[in-house]
Assembly symmetry: C2
Homo-oligomer: 131 residues x 2
């Protein structure tokens, strides 16, 4: 259907493909999870391409079986789980997570996400635009 | 279950109640949609209570039958639809929306969200912390 966007780098939207399974969006590239993490995917839903000056919204998928590794960043993260089940580590703690759960990760807080079961764990992740 | 949070105003999470129907979160108040819009609800998932310095993540529910009214703000919005079906107006345009659709609303862009069908339309809305 193509990305419906009236302004280059402005208002518009990415339509979800509406299929069961991994979430994909029209006009959004499926990238590696991170430069040093080949397994899993990252999709930038709102960010530099939309000229969003304040924040970015990304969607990450963690495949089943990928071991959790703690990350820590100078910026904070706002996470909302959309698909699958898994576990989040926050420093020394670990919690089961699933659809709708909201995790706030403060700056410099060690954190890791892990899938549980056969499905990937999929979550939105909001970060500041400048990081 | 209570809000699991190790630091006052920091890292932690709000657990979704995991039930079908309107999304609710442990430790998150269900507020009116807006001061001047009594019908519909607003839940601040990440914001001042988490001392989030850069962005806020809110969840809005628009009840069926509420007429769409165009809003416009100096700040931008990142929207992800989680429940129900509806329509978004962006200036003079209107588009059908449902689960997973992503809408980016630039600063000062007139916009309105409307539910379609019997269910409320529920969506995440990301905004900058300073607005």
């Amino acid at each position: 259907m193509g990305v419906v966007r009236r302004f280059a780098g402005g208002t518009g939207f990415h339509r979800s493909d509406g299929k069961a399974g991994p979430l994909r969006w029209d006009g959004v590239a499926v990238e590696p999870y991170a430069p040093d993490v080949p397994s899993g995917t990252r999709q930038v839903l709102i960010g530099p391409a939309e000229s969003a000056p304040n924040f970015a919204v990304r969607y990450f998928e963690v495949p089943p079986g990928r071991p959790a590794t703690l990350d820590s960043h100078a910026h904070d993260h706002g996470v909302v789980v959309l698909q699958g089940r898994g576990r989040v580590r926050l420093g020394d703690e670990e919690h089961a997570i699933g659809f709708g759960d909201v995790i706030y990760v403060s700056p410099h807080e060690p954190h890791a996400f892990e899938a549980e079961g056969a499905e990937p764990l999929g979550f939105l992740c909001v970060v500041p635009a400048r990081r």
